[in-house]
């Protein structure tokens, strides 16, 4: 399978077959594994990395689940192609910086991605849309068991699976969910919520941006510890916290509808207005406005059919995705202009926000008021 087909088809987790979860965008489970007694990728010399790659890659390529997969060494991919894979959450930023001696193997539906020689010899992940951590874990657990039948994994009975960084030792699992929390952000409860999640021992990171500047109201919630608990316990805890987050987010949205309806309509109206008329939109602005559009769909301002369009725009408006569409190297302004063109085009089918269609709410203001 060639990179072109990966790049032109959205991953299954981005355009799911039956409606997606309004708040949880995707669930991901990653396992870290290493071969016994061989130097970890960060310490191994180039020749050793290549030798380890040659040992691991054929086994990965041969997996049943990886039939017809996309399988490339990283030095064969251009910087833009690698960046697109990062934007799709198929490889990490760290992996994109690698070249010879590292590889990535991705299945046709883009729900499984296996990195060879990232921080560990093997970083395998399964990703699915909505909240289904158990199913996602089972998928990657099967891959792990299939690989382990042919490879000698570094394992200690007391410490568990041995990893390059002690923070991953034991189960080597990082389970995470990407959540969309515009209600909590708009009602200024997000910091308090993030702090309480941290206290339980889970990490909350803004998906883009530095520090507290969480762009697009998107956050990634994940476990921090990997030793001392088994995989089910870690996943259960994450699940419970996410369910609480969903409740809190829904409450925040209801509250806003009840007490700050005008502010909401204003936000949605402005997002719609700018995205349908602007000729230059930065990636940060696009993320934030698309987030508000998504909220608009959740609240009933826009029809449900619009969700797929917004989801695909979230991916298409990212820098490397834009660059891929053009033959010459684009400067920042050219990207901003191309981004605006794509957004205007895709949103042509969107009619103006309809405040009479608010879910669960009665119309605000006099019935004769024109839109």
């Amino acid at each position: 399978m060639k990179i072109a087909s990966i790049l032109t088809t959205p991953g299954e987790w981005l355009s799911p077959h039956g409606g997606d979860h309004p708040i949880v965008i995707s669930s991901r489970v990653r396992l870290a594994r290493n071969l016994a007694k061989l130097p970890f990728p960060g310490w191994a010399k180039k020749a050793e990395r290549i030798r380890i790659l040659d040992e691991i890659k054929p086994v990965v390529d041969g997996l049943e689940q990886m039939r017809d997969c996309f399988s490339e060494q990283l030095n064969e991919l251009s910087a833009v192609e690698k960046q697109v894979l990062v934007e799709r959450h198929l490889i990490s930023r760290e992996h994109a910086a690698k070249g010879i001696g590292s590889a990535v193997v991705i299945n046709p539906t883009q729900t499984l991605s296996i990195m060879v020689n990232e921080e560990d010899h093997l970083r395998m992940q399964a990703i699915s849309s909505g909240l289904d951590l158990q199913k996602t874990f089972r998928a990657i657990d099967n891959i792990d068991s299939a690989l382990e039948a042919h490879l000698d994994f570094a394992f200690d009975p007391r410490l568990g699976y041995l990893t390059a960084c002690p923070t991953n030792v034991g189960t080597g699992i990082r389970a995470s969910a990407m959540v969309h929390l515009p209600g909590l952000v708009l009602s200024e409860q997000i910091n308090q919520v993030v702090n309480s999640v941290n206290k339980i021992g889970l990490a909350v990171r803004g998906l883009y941006g530095e520090g507290t500047e969480a762009m697009g109201n998107l956050f990634q919630v994940s476990n921090q510890t990997t030793l001392g608990e088994n995989e089910s316990q870690i996943i259960d805890r994450l699940n419970k916290v996410i369910e609480t987050l969903i409740q809190r987010e829904n409450q925040a949205r209801e509250n806003l509808l009840a007490t700050k309806r005008t502010m909401l309509m204003d936000q949605v109206g402005r997002a719609y207005g700018i995205l349908t008329h602007a000729y230059s939109v930065s990636s940060k602005e696009a993320l934030n406005l698309l987030s508000v559009m998504r909220l608009g769909i959740d609240l009933g301002f826009f029809p449900e059919e619009g969700r797929v369009i917004i989801n695909s725009l979230l991916m298409e408006t990212q820098p490397a995705h834009l660059q891929l569409q053009s033959q010459q190297k684009l400067a920042a302004e050219e990207r901003d202009s191309l981004r605006a063109d794509i957004v205007r085009g895709k949103l042509r089918s969107f009619s103006k926000p309809n405040k009479n269609k608010l879910s669960g709410g009665q119309t605000a203001g006099p019935a004769s008021e024109t839109q």
């Binding site: 960084c165 002690p166 923070t167 034991g170 910091n191 941290n198 021992g201 507290t212 510890t225 608990e229």
Partner: protein, 161 residues
């Protein structure tokens, strides 16, 4: 009061963490607190991790020139990168790593998945021990018929290895 992480600057940020009734206090200077994202709720790591990082500075005083026999990694290398050289490093540096791992995680013993081959080996050795006990019992009861059957089963299992 001196910063707990860099041990040089004066501490101006006082962090108290209470988890499950256990209280931990850390004192940080302005720059270390920015580095570790203490003022930033989304970047904030567990206080335990901060304490753990402070501990690597004690670890290096133990045996600074010790090399991992398989990959040649040293504790100085670990301090520089925060990562190890190979799986054998966990044995080589087990003393220093012990307290670090304890501070980082919820427990010090792995309770999750075990590679299938290892699991089978464990099951087999458990079964062998069980059979040997039964054999002793049968012999002491002078039940030589059962003893012979058990002895054959033991031979079978042992030849599987």
């Amino acid at each position: 009061m001196v910063c707990d992480v860099c041990k040089t600057n004066t501490a101006t940020v006082y962090l108290t963490q209470i988890v499950d009734g256990n209280m931990k206090k850390i004192n940080l200077c302005e720059s270390c607190s920015k580095d570790k994202g203490v003022s930033d709720p989304t970047g904030f790591a567990l206080a335990d991790l901060l304490l753990g990082l402070g501990e690597t500075q004690q670890v290096e005083q133990a045996t600074p020139t010790e090399h991992c026999p398989v990959c040649g990694f040293t504790q100085a290398d670990f301090k520089k990168t925060g990562r190890l050289g190979c799986s054998e490093c966990y044995k080589t540096f087990s003393e220093g790593l012990g307290s670090l791992i304890k501070a980082m995680h919820k427990g010090t013993k792995h309770t999750g998945k075990i590679p299938a081959r290892l699991f089978r080996d464990m099951m087999r050795s458990d079964r062998l021990n069980e059979l040997k006990r039964s054999l002793e019992e049968a012999v002491s009861k002078e039940d030589y018929e059962s003893a012979a059957t058990i002895r054959d089963e033991i031979r079978n299992l042992e030849s599987e290895v």
